[in-house]
Amino acid sequence: MKILYFAWLRTSIGKSTEEITPPAEVKTIGDLLDWLPSLGVNYSTALEKRDLLRVAVNQEYAELDHTINAGDEIALFPPVTGG
């Protein structure tokens, strides 16, 4: 699946997008957020504060229990500050 990072998540993780293939037991957004820190200290630092994370699946806001699929576009970002 494709994963996108925005704002300080992007600068903290050090990339704006990547293709990932999580193990089969990663079934939901929550599982994904538990697994991503295993990829490195830049991930574990960036994803430390869960309440500062917002998630979109296929460009729609999604909650932690949302099921994810191989073809999904998943975006992680901080609370928005536009307008």
């Binding site: 996108l4 925005f6 704002a7 300080w8 992007r10 979109a56 460009q59 729609e60 806001y61 975006a75 970002f77 901080p78 609370p79 928005v80 500050t81 536009g82 307008g83």
Partner: protein
């Protein structure tokens, strides 16, 4: 109508185009957001607006559609810029046109509140001490919450 663009826009021209040839419009409410230079402690020299291409357009279209369902609107426009902007520059324009001024005002405020809390934009301020991502404000969440339907 929604537009997500890097270029500046001309408010007068946009209003004219939106209301042209529709003489049932009695009131046009609009909100124009500008780059302030005092948002944080340090003086802001510029800011860069990052966004999520695709999701931004999708979300703004959905909010606009909801506004047309909830209020009696003849026309509406949302323009949001991204990229680098200096203090005083125009960031966002929301315009709502209706027969009745209450519908125009309310829907314009609704669109701004939702845009502030949902549209995937992030502000990076350039200050004299370097770049700084702007924190989201609780007051914006509170403002958006009041539009939730019971």
């Amino acid at each position: 109508m929604i537009r997500v663009q890097e270029n500046d826009f001309d408010v007068g021209l946009e209003l004219k185009k939106l209301t042209a040839n529709n003489h049932s419009i009695g009131g046009v409410a609009s909100f124009l957001g500008l780059v302030r230079d005092i948002a944080s402690e340090e003086n802001i020299t510029a800011m860069t607006l990052e966004h999520y291409p695709g999701m931004t357009e999708k979300l703004l279209s959905e909010i606009e559609q909801e506004a047309h369902q909830r209020w009696d609107l003849d026309a509406s426009l949302i323009i949001h810029r991204y990229g680098r902007m200096e203090p005083g520059e125009q960031i966002v324009l929301v315009v709502t046109c209706s027969k009745h001024r209450k519908d125009a005002f309310e829907s314009c405020e609704f669109l701004m509140d939702y845009l502030k809390t949902k549209a995937p934009f992030w502000k990076l301020e350039e200050t004299s001490k370097g770049g700084k991502w702007v924190d989201a404000r609780d007051s914006d969440d509170d403002a958006a919450t009041r539009w939730l339907k019971g």
